[in-house]
C-alpha cells in the first residue's frame, strides 16, 4: 500500500511538472471553471423562473446537485480524460506491450499514470459550492459524513463506466470518442432526477446510472436520502468496478500488439 501511494505520488508530480509549462493556460482553466459555474448557475435559475421550487428542490438544494456535478466533472478532466483517453493510443501504437510488462497492475497503471491539474479548479469550486450550500441548509456533520458513502460510490461508478468504454478500444480503435458520448449523457446529472420525465428517469437510472452520480449523493447530503438508494449505489459501484476489471482481462485476450 505504501509502495502504491509512493508510485502514484511520483506519477502525479511528474505529470504536474509537465503541465506547469503551460501556466497561462492554467490561468485560462481557472477562468473557464469560474465562468462555467456562473453560466451553470444562470442556467439553473432559468428553470426556477419566478418560483422558488424546481422539481421539488429549493435553490440551495439544487445547488448541492450542481456542486456534486461540478466536482465529478473536475475529477473527470483531472484523472479520467488524461489517463483513459490514452488507452486507445497505446493500443494503436502497440505501446500497451510496455504497460503490460511493468511489475504493476496494468489497470492501475493505465488509470493513474497521468494527472492533469486543469480540472482542479472545478473540483474546488464544486466542493466549495456543496459546503457553502450545506452550511446555509444547516446540514449536520453526521449527514455530511454519511453523504461521503454515495459520493465515493458515485466516483467509482463513473470511473468504471469510463474504464469499460476506454477498454473497448482494444477491439475498435476508431471509437475514441465513445467517451464523449458518456460525457454528454452524464451532463444530465446537472439537475436532480425529479426534473426529468418518467422515460428519461428510467433511462438515467437503469441504462446510464446518472441518478446515482449526483442525485443520490445530494439527497443523502440534504437529509432526504433513502437507505435503499444508498445501499443500491454502493452495490452498483462494487458491481461495476468488478465488471471493469473482469472486462479488462477479457479484452486483453484479444490484444495482439502492433506487430503480431
Amino acid at each position: 500500500m505504501r509502495r502504491l501511494a509512493r508510485l502514484i505520488g511520483l506519477f502525479w508530480s511528474t505529470a504536474v511538472a509537465g503541465e506547469m509549462e503551460y501556466r497561462v493556460n492554467f490561468a485560462l482553466a481557472v477562468l473557464s471553471s469560474a465562468g462555467g459555474l456562473l453560466g451553470a448557475l444562470f442556467g439553473l435559475s432559468l428553470f426556477f423562473g419566478d418560483t422558488d421550487r424546481f422539481a421539488g428542490w429549493s435553490w440551495l438544494q439544487a445547488l448541492v446537485v450542481l456542486g456534486v456535478f461540478t466536482l465529478l466533472d473536475g475529477l473527470t478532466s483531472t484523472l479520467l480524460v488524461p489517463n483513459l483517453g490514452r488507452i486507445v493510443r497505446h493500443v494503436r501504437m502497440g505501446t500497451l506491450d510496455f504497460v503490460l510488462l511493468k511489475p504493476v497492475d496494468a489497470q492501475l497503471w493505465l488509470s493513474t499514470r497521468d494527472f492533469s491539474p486543469w480540472g482542479l479548479p472545478d473540483v474546488l469550486l464544486g466542493l466549495g459550492l456543496v459546503i457553502w450550500a450545506g452550511v446555509r441548509l444547516s446540514v449536520s456533520p453526521t449527514q455530511a459524513l454519511l453523504a461521503l458513502v454515495p459520493t465515493v460510490a458515485s466516483c467509482v461508478i463513473l470511473y468504471s463506466l469510463w474504464f469499460v468504454l476506454a477498454t473497448m478500444s482494444i477491439w475498435f480503435v476508431k471509437i475514441h470518442n465513445v467517451t464523449e458520448v458518456l460525457k454528454a449523457l452524464v451532463a444530465a446529472g446537472r439537475y436532480p432526477m425529479s426534473a426529468y420525465p418518467a422515460a428519461y428517469r428510467v433511462f438515467f437510472t437503469l441504462v446510464v446510472p446518472v441518478a446515482f452520480l449526483t442525485t443520490v449523493p445530494a439527497e443523502t447530503f440534504i437529509g432526504r436520502g433513502q437507505p435503499a438508494w444508498i445501499v443500491g449505489s454502493v452495490l452498483l459501484a462494487l458491481l461495476l468496478f468488478a465488471a471493469s476489471r473482469a472486462f479488462f482481462r477479457f479484452a486483453l485476450r484479444f490484444y495482439t500488439s502492433a506487430s503480431s
Binding site: S32, F47, I175, E180, V181, A184, Y196
Partner: protein, 269 residues
C-alpha cells in the same frame, strides 16, 4: 475568406469528394459524434417536465420542437477546425499542405462540409425516431421558413468556422490554442439559446446576449425554422449581424495567417 478565384473551384470540388469518401469510412465515429451532441435532447426533457408542472408562456410541445430543431441546427454547424489546425502546426504536418497548390484552409473547410453530407442519413433516421416517439410534435414548416432557416444555418456555420479558424491561428504562437476555444465555447453554451430559448432570459441578459454573436449561431436559425410567435426572430437583422461577424473574422483571419506563417517553423519549413 479564402482566396477563391475561378479555376480553384475544380480543386475544391475534388477535395470535397476526397473528404466525403474519407468520412464514409468512419461512419461509426460519425454516429458517436452525433450522440455526443445530445445535450439539447436532455434539456428538452427538463424543460418539457418544467412546462408540464407549472403554468408558463411556452407549452411542452413548444419545447419539444425548439430543442429538436436546435439539435439539428447544432449538428449542421458543428466545427472542430481548431483541433485539426493545432495538431497540424504542432506536429509540422502543415508543411505538406503548404506545398499543395491550394490554400490549406480549403482542406478543413471541405472536410467540414463533407462531414455534414455524410451525417445526413443518420440525422434523418434520428428525426424519424423522434417523430415516432412523439408524433404530436411533428409539423410541416412553410417553405419560406424552411428557406430562411437553412440560410441562417448556413450563415451560422460559416461564421463559426471563420471564428474558430481565426482562434486556431493562435497555434502559430502557442502550443495550446484550443484552450481559447474552450473559453469561447463556454459563452456559446450559455448565451446562444442552447440552455433555454432566449425569450425566457431576464430582459437585461437577453439584451446583452444579443450584442454578442452567440444567439445568432443557435437561437436565430432555430427560431427561423420554427416560424412561430412563441419564438420571435428578426431574420433580416440576424442575417446582417452574421454577415458582419463573418467578414470581421475573415479579415482578421487572413491577417493573422500571413503573420503567423512567417513565424511557422514546423518540420521542413
Amino acid at each position: 475568406m479564402i482566396d477563391a478565384r475561378p479555376g480553384r473551384l475544380r480543386r475544391v470540388v475534388a477535395l470535397l469528394g476526397v473528404h466525403y469518401d474519407e468520412m464514409l469510412e468512419y461512419r461509426a465515429e460519425l454516429v458517436l459524434w452525433m450522440l455526443s451532441g445530445s445535450l439539447p435532447l436532455i434539456l428538452m426533457g427538463v424543460w418539457m417536465q418544467t412546462a408540464a408542472s407549472r403554468p408558463m408562456a411556452l407549452q411542452p410541445i413548444d419545447f419539444a420542437r425548439y430543442f429538436i430543431v436546435l439539435w439539428l441546427v447544432r449538428q449542421a454547424t458543428a466545427v472542430w477546425v481548431i483541433y485539426n489546425f493545432e495538431a497540424a502546426v504542432v506536429e509540422g504536418r502543415l508543411s505538406q499542405r503548404l506545398l499543395q497548390p491550394i490554400d490549406p484552409g480549403w482542406h478543413d473547410f471541405t472536410e467540414h462540409v463533407a462531414e455534414r453530407l455524410a451525417r445526413l442519413p443518420f440525422l434523418v433516421a434520428l428525426v424519424g425516431l423522434f417523430a415516432l416517439l412523439y408524433p404530436e410534435a411533428v409539423w410541416l414548416p412553410r417553405p419560406a421558413a424552411l428557406a430562411t432557416g437553412l440560410a441562417l444555418t448556413a450563415g451560422a456555420f460559416m461564421t463559426r468556422f471563420a471564428v474558430q479558424y481565426t482562434l486556431a491561428m493562435v497555434a502559430f504562437w502557442s502550443e495550446r490554442a484550443s484552450a481559447l476555444q474552450q473559453l469561447w465555447f463556454l459563452f456559446y453554451i450559455f448565451l446562444s439559446g442552447l440552455m433555454a430559448p432566449l425569450t425566457l432570459f431576464p430582459p437585461s441578459v437577453r439584451t446583452f446576449a444579443e450584442l454578442t454573436p452567440f444567439p445568432y449561431l443557435v437561437y436565430m436559425p432555430t427560431a427561423a425554422f420554427l416560424d412561430s410567435p412563441a419564438f420571435p426572430v428578426d431574420v433580416g437583422r440576424a442575417a446582417l449581424v452574421l454577415t458582419g461577424w463573418f467578414v470581421c473574422f475573415a479579415v482578421l483571419n487572413r491577417w493573422l495567417w500571413r503573420r503567423g506563417l512567417r513565424r511557422y517553423s514546423g518540420m521542413g519549413a
